[in-house]
Symmetry: C2
Subunit: 381 residues, 2 copies
Amino acid sequence: MPVKTSSAIKNPLSIGILGGGQLARFLVEKGQNLGLTMWVLSDSKNDPAAQVTNHWVKGNPNDSNDISEFLKNVSILTFESEFADVNLVQKAATKKLQIFPSLSDIKAFQDRFLQKTLLETHQITTSPFLKVSSTDELNRSGEFFNYRYVLKKRFGGYDGYGTFIVKNKTDHLKIVQSITDFKIGFIAEAFIPFEFECAATFFRNKKDQWTHTPLVFSKQSQSKCDYVYGPIDHIAFNKMKKKIKSLMKKIDYVGALTFEFFVNGNELIVNETAPRVHNSAHYTLDALSQDQFTLHLKSVMNWDLSIPIESRSKQFCMVNLVGSNENSVNIPYDVSGTLYWYGKTQNRSGRKMGHINYTSNNLSAQSLLKLAQKERNRFKI
Amino acid sequence: MPVKTSSAIKNPLSIGILGGGQLARFLVEKGQNLGLTMWVLSDSKNDPAAQVTNHWVKGNPNDSNDISEFLKNVSILTFESEFADVNLVQKAATKKLQIFPSLSDIKAFQDRFLQKTLLETHQITTSPFLKVSSTDELNRSGEFFNYRYVLKKRFGGYDGYGTFIVKNKTDHLKIVQSITDFKIGFIAEAFIPFEFECAATFFRNKKDQWTHTPLVFSKQSQSKCDYVYGPIDHIAFNKMKKKIKSLMKKIDYVGALTFEFFVNGNELIVNETAPRVHNSAHYTLDALSQDQFTLHLKSVMNWDLSIPIESRSKQFCMVNLVGSNENSVNIPYDVSGTLYWYGKTQNRSGRKMGHINYTSNNLSAQSLLKLAQKERNRFKI
């Protein structure tokens, strides 16, 4: 049965996104291609997503009045970040509003403790972890992990923010001294030595159709995605996929769900998950027949996910363009990859300013990556 | 030397487009990816291009005041249509404004008589033609072509509008009677029997770099693009390319220039040209490593055009979604191709409402087209 959009031409189906960053920007662009009206709630009209729609609403995505007003425009709400204030959204939402992923799923994934517990419940390998809610618990965790562990805030951490690596007892004692407020809560994770990291994004719709992007090699630098290439394979990926599929079905998850893995020999260990589209899958904009943003929207709208996702090249890679200072920016005019510049109004050290996608049928992964890095070095950001 | 966009982060390079249709929409989207600020002048905030930028200006692209006001925002002006009023734009333009393609080139291509004359000057095969400015000239043309010819308005014709096919003396006499006003001017062209039609789009920048899309089979229905598939080859294409390259250099053409050809055995005969991006190259959004909109913008900004344009699939096709009535629209939710819906607020018979791109490495051109047509038939528009 076709989705009725008779509504959809004079009053197209309206999707709202809380937040106006680059993930929202791509969701907006891809939604517009599908004939959807894409609404964005964000602080500034210069936000990356605000620039690409005439349905931007000025407001604070964490203010209950602003959310309420915003939601009057939309029939489906989705997210570019897992840090939405679930209680505020719950209060602001009418009964008619559809929210994907569900608020209970957002809640489970935005809390690192619940997230890891969920993984364990589904026998998905992840590093051992302990909840840390007091100095006492922190000290016991230190001892338990033999003073070699990673301490993470339960809420709001990303790209290394809110993460502390403890390598010895001295580090541990420093951390113990520096943390006075345990209200937000922490988890301590075993430090996992690994050969490399990789990632994949999974999609599910309400009618239990399920699909995913290929596994990709993912290089982090200073806890931030540096580059990605693929496709790669791993002996444990098939088994892992089945478990993820079963988890998503069990919690009736709808939308994109990204997994980042550590690789240790034959083992795939989940490092982190994010209930959303993800930097590690930006390559899909060029390398696959369906990109992650379109797939997320199709999931959310309960459109068909059974169509095979085809590769458009044998090799692909993506390099991030990350700000290194506050200076103005120089973009070289002769990049051979496909440039995505996010239109941020300020260059800042460590800030993701854009990315470049590369595809090739001739070059090896290494050669393609070399080319990409060489071109990236010519950006002054 | 990198393009300086130090300017470009707090004050990104601003490109203006006159008109807000689907061609402008794609130019806007691709320009945003390159980090440009894309301004659109159009009548309604619901126009396809107005929906995808927060730099839309309400106004009439044929009103001199509106153009003047609009041009204050932009440093480069380009077009989505060849029907710009060159004199108005000329008057409104400051000396600092860059305009690509140049107004003299727009002028040459918007007039079918000058366009055909330009082709002849460069030994580019096109059908024989006569200028028709009076009933007398119309009668002489009828006789010259033995009452089998095509009469076209010199200005403003597209998708068959402004075109009259004359098959015999009766048709001719009807036309003679019906036309009372010759002010706009006509040309009469020999009726060219042909096996099929094909098309390609060419790009040139100010530093004389030049590139082009592959030749594609192009099917017209009721004088409107119905579908396109490719890549195809033709024995005369290489020679034709050289002539087109030389023409573009001679007139210092900057931007996209599209050629539509008739195929007759070993002969390629130019049917029409358009000084802009084109429906017949919409497939480039998915099938090539660089799409026509990005290539047009790179041309206009004098960015590098030497990067090879690579195929992302062995076969591709594009089918247009054309309105058949005034009713509301049903979009099927399970299309396997990549849907581009233009967001027009009214469905109208004959109106281009969207298109779908297909790519494949396994299917033959015919099988892929069959699949595309089958899926298209499920749209209710």
